[in-house]
């Protein structure tokens, strides 16, 4: 098997707990021992609910906010060992597109200036910068003649195209897409998704696609990792995750997604599922899990291969032989 384009090994990101009287001395673990590999040319989906650590993970693996523990390898090269200059060189291979283009584009800079910055950092000469900026804008469907304009002169969808163009201008091989269409209207979302699909095949890109929108990830991704409270609880091919998920959380998550097909939602009174705090020791999903047993509260399950590259972290994984 070839070397994966991106490999993350036991990555941890802790934040020092603020305040003198904080409870945990070790600090808050936003990401707690996450490992996965992304094959070149694939789309790897990372899903989870808010606060599960997916954005923290994205920032840590790009060394925008370096991990506390663990390794990130890009085409086999560990990023942790690189100098600041070395890391800057590597960044051109891995770019990120954020959810909110308004935050990502400086309102006081023209599109040309915003896009030129990254290239200038890489030492690209001015004339070449112009050419690459124009080419990248062309690629995402923005007229290069508009490069002199400012962000407020563009619509939300166009701004997101520009941030994608900016990421592409340095010729990256991996794009980390952190909720890139969540702020956009339905009709514009589809435009951007189609654009991303086109770009991927034209430029032989690899995507790490982070989203809370399960329908979208199910549509785009080849493999899906499901995060819960800082951990990956299940990882497998999209088909496996959708049709034969092993972790109760994954099942619940995908069962909750509203779809354009299927029945109306049945009225039902349910308590607040957020209320339960999972035990410190055992599985962090145990308190919410309908299958939880005594053992789940004392043993923390490791992510292990359940066969065929389908990984799950559960002591009592669902059984699929009955076609569940």
């Amino acid at each position: 098997m070839s070397t994966p384009i991106l490999e993350v090994r036991r990555l941890e990101k802790r934040y020092a707990a603020s305040g003198i009287l904080s409870r945990s001395r070790a600090g808050l673990k936003a990401v707690d021992g996450v490992s996965f590999a992304v094959e070149a040319g694939s789309t790897f989906g990372l899903v989870g609910e808010s606060g599960c650590g997916k954005t923290t993970l994205a920032r840590a693996l790009l060394y925008l906010d370096p991990p506390t523990v663990g390794e990130v390898l890009f085409e086999g090269t560990p990023l942790g060992g690189l100098s600041r200059a070395g890391l800057r060189g590597f960044r051109r291979h891995m770019q990120i597109v954020f959810q909110d283009p308004n935050g990502a584009l400086d309102p006081k800079m023209s599109v040309r200036a915003s896009m030129g910055e990254g290239l200038a950092n890489l030492g690209v000469p001015r004339a070449e910068r112009e050419r690459r900026t124009a080419a990248a804008l062309e690629l995402v469907g923005i007229q290069p003649a508009h490069a002199g304009r400012y962000p407020h002169e563009f619509s939300g969808g166009q701004k997101q195209r520009i941030t994608i163009a900016r990421a592409l201008s340095v010729d990256p091989r991996l794009l980390v897409l952190d909720e890139p269409v969540s702020n956009l209207d339905v009709s514009i979302q589809a435009q951007i998704i189609n654009l991303l699909l086109d770009l991927k095949s034209r430029l032989a890109l690899t995507y790490l696609f982070i989203s809370h929108d399960l329908n979208l990830v199910a549509y785009l991704a080849d493999r899906i990792a499901v995060m819960y409270r800082g951990r990956i609880v299940e990882l497998g091919s999209t088909a496996r995750i959708l049709d034969s998920a092993l972790h109760p959380y994954t099942r619940r998550l995908f069962a909750s997604v509203p779809r354009l097909t299927g029945e109306r939602i049945a009225p039902k009174m349910e308590g607040d599922s957020e209320a339960g705090d999972s035990s410190r020791k055992g599985c962090r999903y145990a308190a919410r899990c309908e299958r939880g047993e005594l053992a789940c509260h004392s043993n923390d399950p490791e992510l292990h291969d359940a066969g065929g590259g389908h990984l799950v972290a559960c002591l009592l994984p669902e059984k699929n032989d009955q076609g569940g």
Partner: protein
């Protein structure tokens, strides 16, 4: 339908002033909500869906906004032109409202209990003690057991899902006949979203109220609604039962929206994206507002505003919307509807 709970006809709203530049965000909205019905109003941002809800509540900021034409009848009574005092008596009493982001829509420096209790005292004339007891019951009703303790909390001490439940408890506290829910689950995670949707349906059944569910999310609307109205550029373009609108959409905009939703079943195919962007309210195209983005548009679409007609029985009967539109109607505003 004569016994409609809420009947909006030809509602037009404009904004005056330097910035708005005489825009018309609502250009004649027609909408009927029957008693006890879950009616979804679907549209993209800027389509006028929230503004429509704002008009029903009577919270339109006048000026800069101005209601140019139309009528809003609620329980047989015309709301437009009603004195502010009278409208206030309806708000929170007969018409409740739930908003998108509970963290912003709850007063951060006031205990949750006080925020629920004030409407009960005002509208139902309960004593403070009685109102508190009722508020605790309401919290239990929306799935927050141990309501008494929660009454004493401040919004920031609650989780996002709990806050939305509090918001809902507030909105249904006086058992309104109509609950307007404006993107009530958009800010929530999927598992919570489902819980809240189920809760809204459960409350509808228990309290017998109608729900006007305002959303941009077609999948959510598919999950919760009984009737659906699609709004584009301040005009309803299609309205009908959930089965009809999702199963046999008549308007090219509805069709395009449905085709643009990513789902696992569409893997490997390109999404049918709608070209262009939603026009802003100051520059709505002439004729059918959707024509510049419509793949089927013909000359007539550029020139003539299509009327909202009933296609339920096949050929369009010339029954203007809101008129005799029964529960089985399927309205569309398109010159080409039903021709395919």
């Amino acid at each position: 339908m004569a016994d409609a709970l809420l009947s909006i006809r030809d509602l037009a709203v404009s904004f005056q002033g330097r910035e708005a530049g005489g825009s018309r965000p609502l250009r004649g909205v027609d909408l009927e909500v029957g008693p006890g019905e879950v009616h979804a109003l679907v549209g993209e941002s800027g389509s006028g869906k929230t503004l429509t809800a704002t008009c029903v509540l009577g919270l339109l900021p006048v000026p800069p906004a101005r209601i140019e034409a139309g009528s809003i009848r609620f329980q047989g009574r015309e709301l437009l032109g009603l004195a502010e005092r009278e409208r206030r008596k309806l708000r929170g009493r007969r018409i409740g409202m739930v908003f998108q982001e509970p963290s912003k829509y709850l007063n951060p420096s006031m205990r949750v209990g006080e925020q629920i209790v004030e409407a009960l005292i005002l509208h139902l004339g309960l004593s403070r003690r009685g109102a508190r007891a009722r508020a605790a019951e309401l919290l239990e009703l929306v799935g927050l057991p141990g309501g008494r303790q929660i009454l004493r909390r401040y919004p920031h001490e609650l989780s996002g899902g709990m806050r939305q439940r509090v918001m809902i408890a507030m909105a249904v506290s006086c058992e309104p006949a109509l609950l307007i829910a404006d993107e009530p689950t958009t800010a929530l995670d999927v598992t919570l979203q489902r819980q809240i949707l189920r809760l809204l349906l459960e409350l509808r059944d228990r309290l017998g109220m109608a729900v006007l569910f305002v959303s941009h999310d077609l999948a959510v609307v598919h999950g919760i609604s009984e009737r659906v109205s699609v709004i584009y550029c301040g005009k309803i373009v299609e309205s009908g039962s959930r089965e009809r609108v999702f199963g046999r959409p008549l308007h090219p905009y509805t069709q395009a929206l449905l085709a643009s939703v990513p789902e696992a079943s569409r893997r490997g195919t390109r999404l049918a994206a709608i070209p262009g962007t939603v026009p802003d309210a100051a520059h709505v195209p002439a004729g059918c507002a959707f024509h510049p983005r419509c793949p089927l548009a013909v000359e007539k679409c550029r020139l003539e505003v299509p009327a909202l007609l009933d296609y339920a029985a096949g050929p369009p009967g010339r029954a203007p919307a809101g008129g005799e539109a029964g529960a089985s109607s399927h309205l569309a505003a398109c010159h080409l509807a039903g021709r395919s």
